[in-house]
Assembly symmetry: C2
Homo-oligomer: 102 residues x 2
């Protein structure tokens, strides 16, 4: 991903319902749409039972704009109605980072 | 998990080597050890190819103490030597959160 601290991370954790018809396609579509938003820096996802998606952004304004995106609003409503048993969103300021590559 | 913002999150993303003998046991041991550290609030994990573990803490001091824990230091060194092809650690201040439960 692009960017050095300080930047923002949105930690989205979720549990899905048993019946999630259409969820995979929508999740992929939303990831592709996020990637072209202003202020987007990167996204990382993994799911076992719990799903964790972390998206990275330049500013709180970029996060607010993505949350209010019309297509994304539709997906959020569909998610609440049909797919999610639970979710939690955490808005975080990334203050420091370090990494290791073999 | 316990706690309301502001609190801290450590986002740990990783890719494993092909040969990871002993990794699963050590990961479980470290998670159990994290849970009894002062200032620990919670932990969430998922892995597909990329692994994402987010641990939650009351303060930067609690994070620093956990990083310096002797058993954890041993696990970190073993991880660099034997298990991780890549990892990245992000220290984040959780400023705001909201959730949904069906």
């Amino acid at each position: 991903m692009k960017g050095k601290p300080p930047y923002y991370a949105v930690i989205f954790t979720s549990l899905l319902n048993k019946e999630i018809s259409g969820y995979g396609d929508m999740a992929e579509e939303m990831e592709n749409l996020a990637k072209v938003q202003p202020g987007y820096l990167g996204i990382e996802s993994a799911r076992e039972q719990l799903g964790i998606t972390v998206s990275y952004w330049e500013s709180l304004e970029a996060i607010a704009n993505w949350k209010a995106n019309t297509d994304h609003l539709f997906a959020q409503q569909k998610g609440i109605k049909d797919w999610y048993a639970y979710y939690k969103v955490r808005i975080c300021l990334v203050e420091r980072e370090y990494d290791f590559t073999k």
